[in-house]
């Protein structure tokens, strides 16, 4: 492992050029070191390497399981994304003042810019929540009565109130929450995490996306992409019914035996080819990939086969009820993937803009209960089921949306008022792993518009999610376009208040 002779121009730094697959051993461990980390990260990683050999992504096994940067209980993550912008003041962020100010203007408030500032400076009226809030569990968190099931789990949840995202519209905000940037082209949270940790089960993708069967969320592949990271880290779409992965089935008219024969010939040719190029590791990796694909063909359909689940379980997730069936399937599938070692599942509820999106500009009273009814029981079932099987200990569950909504509306006449976008008031909750159940952080003003006191930015939440999975936001970096990039871009603060 000697380096080239010292030379003025030729820096002694191991190169990252290998990542493009040139040279003797593309994607060697050293490539990873140099490309994936700036000096700080590289050094930290060198230490990490000392702890465990082969602990970095390589071409031969980009998804090989890798140790955490520091010990945390959670090894998996289920990210539940409600597409459209969930109203915080009708769900978890209780604001009794709305009653008092019903129909009136919000008193003057400073500190908002952009669209919200405009909303506030134009005529508007406060719309109280149509639903009652009750203190639940030992922690006594207020939860809207819309959530009879989830409110039973409230002592497992840690709430984050008044999160700020970078944009007040769906497209950019959805990207921000899912990728750390409001601009397209950045790796999604799941991509960063599988890049950092690999995945324990090589027979399934490490990062799985279970979309709403009715369609894709805003930005489509943007929310699950690998951005500038290698494609190995992009989310694989998984259907909750039928053939789970696109093109999983071998071509028609070919038996599995025949496929085996073809793979054997392919393998023989590839081996021969590889033996003449012994120092080029990518070839080995591709040979392995075919074997993995072969195994995936049998393992993946088994995951989506929910028929073997007990009646009790099926009922628990609401598979017996047409309202909850779809999301129930998505949640149960997420659990089954975790059981089989999949690192990260992104579970999406809601489709672009339409009836099924949480984008309730009008008729909040009529629309919101429909969305909630679809997810309340399945999400609660997921938490209880994970807990029952001892999996909640090692699984971080995140519930998110791309933004909050306003407690007031500029439309003064509508008899079916809704709520508009609010980039300052997003509420999220976390559960599992080292999350301190029943805790909370952040607080919004009495109208739930934005944070009072120190504000919490989405990057802080991202840093916290990484931390809870044992990943340091500082160390999880990747060189792109001349810069070492990371999920939080400029770094976020860890929300220690919700960590046990």
């Amino acid at each position: 492992m000697k380096q080239a002779k010292k030379d003025d121009e030729l820096s002694l730094n191991p190169t990252w050029g290998q990542c493009t697959g040139f040279g003797p051993s593309a994607w060697s461990r050293r490539d990873f070191l140099s490309r994936s980390c700036n000096g700080l990260g590289a050094l930290a990683l060198a230490g990490l390497l000392a702890e465990e050999l082969g602990a970095t992504p390589s071409a031969s096994s980009p998804l090989a399981s890798r140790p955490q940067h520091f010990p945390r209980k959670a090894k998996h993550c289920i990210f539940l994304f409600m597409s459209g912008g969930v109203s915080q003041v009708d769900t978890f962020d209780y604001k009794p003042a709305l009653e008092k100010f019903a129909g009136q203007r919000v008193p003057k408030m400073a500190g908002f810019s952009g669209e919200i500032e405009g909303f506030l400076s134009s005529p508007h009226r406060v719309i109280p929540s149509p639903w009652e809030f009750k203190r639940m569990g030992e922690s006594g968190h207020y939860v809207s009565t819309l959530f009879p099931h989830l409110s039973e789990c409230v002592d497992d949840l840690a709430f984050i109130f008044g999160i700020e995202v970078d944009n007040n519209n769906h497209g950019p905000a959805t990207l921000h929450v899912n990728t750390g940037s409001q601009f397209p082209g950045h790796p999604s949270v799941g991509a960063w995490i599988t890049y950092g940790l690999g995945s324990p089960n090589q027979n399934l993708p490490g990062y799985v996306v279970i979309q709403d069967p009715r369609g894709a969320p805003i930005n489509g592949a943007g929310v699950r992409g690998s951005g500038f990271l290698p494609a190995s880290y992009q989310g694989t779409l998984f259907r909750s019914v039928g053939t789970p992965i696109l093109e999983l089935e071998p071509p028609k008219r070919i038996t599995r035996q025949q496929q085996r024969e073809e793979f054997d010939l392919l393998n023989w040719l590839n081996r021969r080819h590889q033996q003449r190029r012994p120092d080029f590791t990518q070839l080995e990796a591709r040979i392995n990939a075919y074997e993995l694909a072969f195994r995936m063909q049998s393992e993946a359909p088994e995951v989506v086969d929910l028929s073997k689940e007990s009646e009790v379980t099926r009922k628990m997730y609401g598979l017996d009820n047409p309202v909850t069936e779809a999301f129930g399937r998505q949640c149960l599938l997420a659990k089954r993937l975790i059981q089989r070692g999949v690192r990260y599942s992104l579970v999406v509820h809601g489709v672009e803009n339409g009836k099924t999106s949480w984008d309730d500009h009008g008729n909040i009273k009529g629309r919101l209960p429909r969305h909630v009814a679809e997810v309340d029981q399945p999400v609660a079932a997921l938490l209880k089921d994970l807990k029952r099987e001892g999996l909640l200990e090692e699984t971080l569950v995140v519930w998110a949306s791309e933004m909050g909504r306003t407690a007031f509306i500029n439309d003064l006449d509508s008899d079916k008022p809704g709520r508009d976008h609010n980039q300052y008031g997003l509420v999220m909750w976390l559960a599992g792993g080292d999350v301190q159940g029943g805790s909370r952080v952040g607080e919004t003003d009495e109208f739930g518009i934005g944070a009072v006191g120190e504000s919490i930015h989405m990057r802080d939440v991202h840093a916290t999610i990484l931390d809870l999975l044992g990943l340091s936001d500082e160390r999880l970096t990747y060189l792109h376009d001349g810069r070492f990039r990371r999920l939080t871009d400029i770094g976020g603060k860890i929300l220690k208040e919700i960590i046990a």
Partner: protein, 916 residues
């Protein structure tokens, strides 16, 4: 044992790295945010600038370096274990910190601090601005003398060989002819060589066989199709806006054809730059009368480059700032290899680019006017079809589509008329009910009002007590309020049914209403309870198919309008306000303007901060013009130290897989230093001398002995000295890019449609993908699947949909489409195996490949195997390979099936995917 040896080796590397590294700017050594946070939350209360307990403050790097009264420097760069700060935190020095707490900081916090210290350079130096190599003009070097002179084909080889020799290495022997032709074909035109060409080249006795082949390929129009793809990666080219709804950019494709032409016609690179940044500012105003004419169509199209950022619903000044900033950062990284984006919110952390320079550069774009049209997209400008044959070709296409559209629309009319009538009938019934109810209510209200007014009479007549009057009055009020409310609703519902507001008319049922009713989206129309039974599923499906077909044709027609996704400047005075003042935006926030700035070039390069000279016409008629041209001229100038270097380095990278500077879009300090700086300068100067001829540099690179080396060389010594092959002691093996894989498969099956240029194509998507893309149901950015030969054009013509690219390309690392991509990743995933082995595309082509093989080689299995290998791998099979392949033939029920199986296997083979 291996374990510790490993640690040792790595330790050694890192120490050497640290010592050998470039002196860094102070800023980059500042504690990273996490360390900052750890220090702030634990130490700041006693150790800020004002408290300074024990004389120690953690507020700046300098104060940390200065240390406290007791231990002096708190940090020893590169040596955390010897740094008092760490020793105190670890309790190795007294007093243990944080003071008066039961425990030390968490281990990972201390590790983070240690890691930062370890990275600190001992020679912290803040002033290297104007001496930085990349900001100085290239220096003319004579090609160095070498010993192994017979190896040298051109000057490039002198530079490469001299460095090899200096390191005690020698170059690899030339690759064999079969390898060379395959390498050259893929490198230059991105397709596999036909077997006949391979045979001819292998046998060609001419001493210039290689050069002849190269010249033929460089003159081949497929060269542009291959090399334009590299540029499109940099230009973040896509056909959709990438946000909500992922709306169509109907005219973006014309830019793709422009870039293909630029390579095929060897457009001088300086002109290529100017056209893309300021294509609308070529015309010189020479008279006081009239207006500057529209730009040449080609130059209008070139400007698409500036428009390709993802675009979302505009939000006033915020959006404008984002758009202009994106233009600037893309221009800087693509043409100059400068990461200007870093200077938007603060001074650049690594390069001497103050934030002010970002805004001075942004000011060149101050007068940009993006045509307005559709929300979230922006509009086009006129640009006639200028490529030879395009006008006729697209005119006839348009005529064809128009005719088809008419037919479909007529059919649709016939189909939907009865549906409309059915809906109208339901609505008519609804209306009759509502009208009846309306009349009833009006009557009742009238009666109740009368009753109310009679109450007072009753009181006067003494028939009513005062108390009773109040009570009855209140009751009537309540009833009236209810009735009025209901009437209001009924009237509103009626108005929806009858937009003209005329009583007695039938309900107005529009196609829109029908569409909503068919898709059960009748939320906003009056509820007609039986709507579910109105239409059969078959009718609904057919209705939606018709609408989809019509939309697809309309979109196809829109794409063929003679328009470009161009831009221009806004009119200056007196028609529009004068050029706006540009400001430094504090912390990059669009609503926090700081000092005003004039357009100017980066001071680190020019050495001053004077405003750039903007050449306004002599009549001062058009003060909003020529800002971008000033920038373009400066970039495309032989005096610019970066432009030529950055481009020749890109060409080098695409040919060798790695640039002389490995960070092709970052020539700044945080990028990599050149492996062969003299060669880089020599090539840059040659490029300018050859009037910015890209092809001249290509030819130079491709005819070098360096390029012709074998990749097979195993050399223990070379591997020890230079494992990464930066000195180029052999050729770098590589995988085909996504497009190369798809194009190869089509070329090998014999079904590649070689038609060039034109609107994007939409090859069939994998079955089931529709379910994953909501855009399918929303009409926006649809995938209007192309059938037949059109779907088999080269991959560069595939519709680049940001929300869901073609999965076959995506899985093989196609670019993100949203940010400039200077180099493709190469990943290996089982999903590639699924796409290649199970996917419909490969399986279909495998059948055609088999058909072709059978046709070209007859019925004998040995001949078929031989032909299949020749077509797929550009070589004959070895006897053992024939033997193995034959086993497949004996295992399958029919020879045809066996041949398809073999073809599928060959498509999947690594040998096909990799270039030696």
């Amino acid at each position: 044992m291996r374990f510790s040896a490993f640690v040792l080796v790595y330790g050694a590397i890192f120490v050497r790295l640290t010592l050998g590294a470039v002196p860094a700017k102070t800023e980059s050594d500042q504690p990273p945010q996490t360390v900052r946070a750890i220090l702030n939350s634990n130490c700041l209360s006693c150790h800020d600038q004002s408290t300074r307990t024990s004389g120690f403050s953690i507020e700046s790097l300098e104060s940390i370096m200065a240390g406290g009264a007791r231990y002096r420097p708190a940090v020893k760069p590169g040596r955390p274990e010897e740094s008092p700060l760490v020793q105190i935190l670890r309790g190795q020095l007294k007093p243990r910190m944080p003071f008066n707490t039961a425990t030390s900081l968490p281990e990972h916090d201390i590790l983070a601090i240690e890691a930062w210290i370890r990275e600190l350079k001992p020679d912290v130096d803040a002033s290297a601005a104007t001496t930085y190599w990349a900001f100085k003009k290239p220096v003319r070097h004579d090609p160095p003398q070498v010993q192994q002179r017979e190896w040298v084909s051109n000057e490039i080889d002198n530079f490469i060989l001299s460095k090899l020799e200096a390191n005690g290495l020698s170059p690899a022997p030339e690759a064999d002819r079969r390898t060379l032709i395959r390498r050259l074909y893929f490198n230059v035109i991105g397709l596999p060589p036909p077997p006949e060409e391979v045979a001819a080249f292998v046998k060609d006795p001419s001493p210039t066989a290689y050069e002849n082949l190269l010249d033929r390929l460089l003159a081949d129009p497929r060269y542009g199709e291959r090399w334009a793809r590299h540029w499109l990666d940099l230009a973040r080219y896509a056909d959709t806006n990438g946000y909500e709804g992922d709306r169509d950019y109907p005219h973006a494709w014309r830019y793709r054809d422009y870039v293909i032409d630029a390579f095929n016609h060897n457009k001088p690179y300086d002109k290529f730059i100017k056209e893309q940044i300021a294509g609308d500012e070529f015309f010189k105003v020479t008279s006081a009368a009239g207006y500057p004419p529209l730009p040449e169509p080609e130059q209008a199209v070139a400007l698409t480059f500036l428009r390709l950022a993802p675009f979302t619903e505009p939000r006033g000044e915020e959006s404008r700032d984002l758009l202009l900033s994106e233009m600037l950062t893309t221009v800087s990284s693509v043409f100059l290899g400068l990461t200007m984006a870093c200077a938007k919110c603060h001074d650049h952390k690594y390069d001497p680019i103050p934030s002010r320079d970002f805004y001075r550069m942004k000011a060149f774009f101050a007068t940009v006017r993006i045509p307005r049209a559709k929300i979230e997209v922006g509009g086009p400008l006129p640009a006639d079809f200028y490529r030879p044959g395009d006008k006729e070709r697209f005119d006839s296409k348009r005529a064809e589509y128009k005719k088809r559209l008419e037919v479909v629309k007529t059919d649709f009319e016939v189909f939907h008329k009865p549906l409309l009538e059915r809906l109208a009938e339901v609505k008519r019934l609804e209306m009759v009910n509502l009208e009846r109810r309306s009349d009833e209510l009006a009557l009742e209200i009238k009666e109740n009002r009368n009753k109310q007014s009679r109450l007072i009479d009753l009181l006067r007549e003494g028939q009513l007590e005062a108390a009773e009057l109040d009570e009855r009055n209140a009751e009537l009020d309540r009833v009236l309020a209810e009735q009025t409310a209901e009437l209001k609703k009924v009237t509103a519902d009626l108005a929806k049914l009858r937009p003209e507001g005329k009583k007695g008319q039938g309900p107005a049922v529009t196609l829109q209403d029908l569409k909503k009713a068919v898709n059960d989206e009748a939320d906003n129309t009056v509820g007609f309870e039986k709507k579910d039974q109105l239409f059969t599923q078959a009718e609904k499906d057919q209705f939606n198919q018709f609408t989809a077909d019509i939309l697809a044709l309309e979109r196809a027609l829109e794409r063929l309008e003679p328009m470009a996704m161009s831009l221009t400047n806004f009119d200056g005075p007196p028609y529009a306000p004068s050029v706006p003042t540009m400001y430094v935006l504090i912390r990059g926030q669009h609503d926090k303007p700081g000092e005003p700035v004039e357009p100017g070039f980066p001071s680190a390069i020019t050495g001053h901060s004077k405003p750039a000279k903007i050449e306004i016409d002599r009549y001062k008629k058009h003060p909003s013009r020529n800002r971008r041209m000033a920038l373009a001229r400066w970039i495309a100038s032989p005096e610019n130290p970066l432009t030529a270097r950055v481009m020749v380095n890109r060409l080098w990278q695409y040919n060798f897989g790695r640039g002389i500077v490995e960070t092709a879009s970052n020539f700044g300090k945080n990028g990599k230093r050149p492996s062969h700086p003299e060669l880089l300068d020599w090539l840059a100067l040659r490029f300018v001398d050859q009037e910015w001829s890209v092809r001249a540099i290509q030819r130079l690179i491709l005819t070098s002995s360096t390029f012709r080396q074998s990749s097979f060389r195993v050399d223990q010594k070379a591997a020890e000295v230079d494992l990464e092959n930066r000195l180029l002691w052999r050729f770098n093996r590589r995988r085909l890019e996504a497009e190369g894989i798809r194009d190869s498969i089509l070329a090998i099956s014999g079904r590649l449609n070689t038609e060039q240029g034109g609107p994007p194509i939409f090859p069939p998507l994998p079955t089931g993908l529709n379910q994953f893309t909501s855009a399918e149901t929303r009409g926006a950015a649809r995938w209007d699947t192309t059938r037949g030969a059109d779907a088999r054009k080269r991959s560069i013509y595939v519709y680049q949909r940001r929300s869901q690219p073609l999965p076959f390309l995506e899985v093989f690392d196609s670019p993100p489409l949203t940010l400039p991509c200077e180099r493709r990743e190469v990943s290996v995933t089982p999903l590639q195996a699924l796409a290649m082995y199970d996917g419909e595309f490969v399986n279909t082509e495998a059948e055609f490949f088999a058909e072709r093989v059978a046709k070209e080689s007859g019925s004998e299995s040995g001949a078929q195997i031989r032909r299949a290998f020749q077509l797929a791998l550009a070589r004959d099979p070895e006897p053992k390979e024939v033997e193995q392949a034959r086993r497949l033939f004996s295992a399958r029920p029919s020879q045809q099936e066996a041949l398809v199986a073999l073809c599928r296997v060959l498509f999947n083979s690594n040998e096909l995917l990799y270039i030696d």
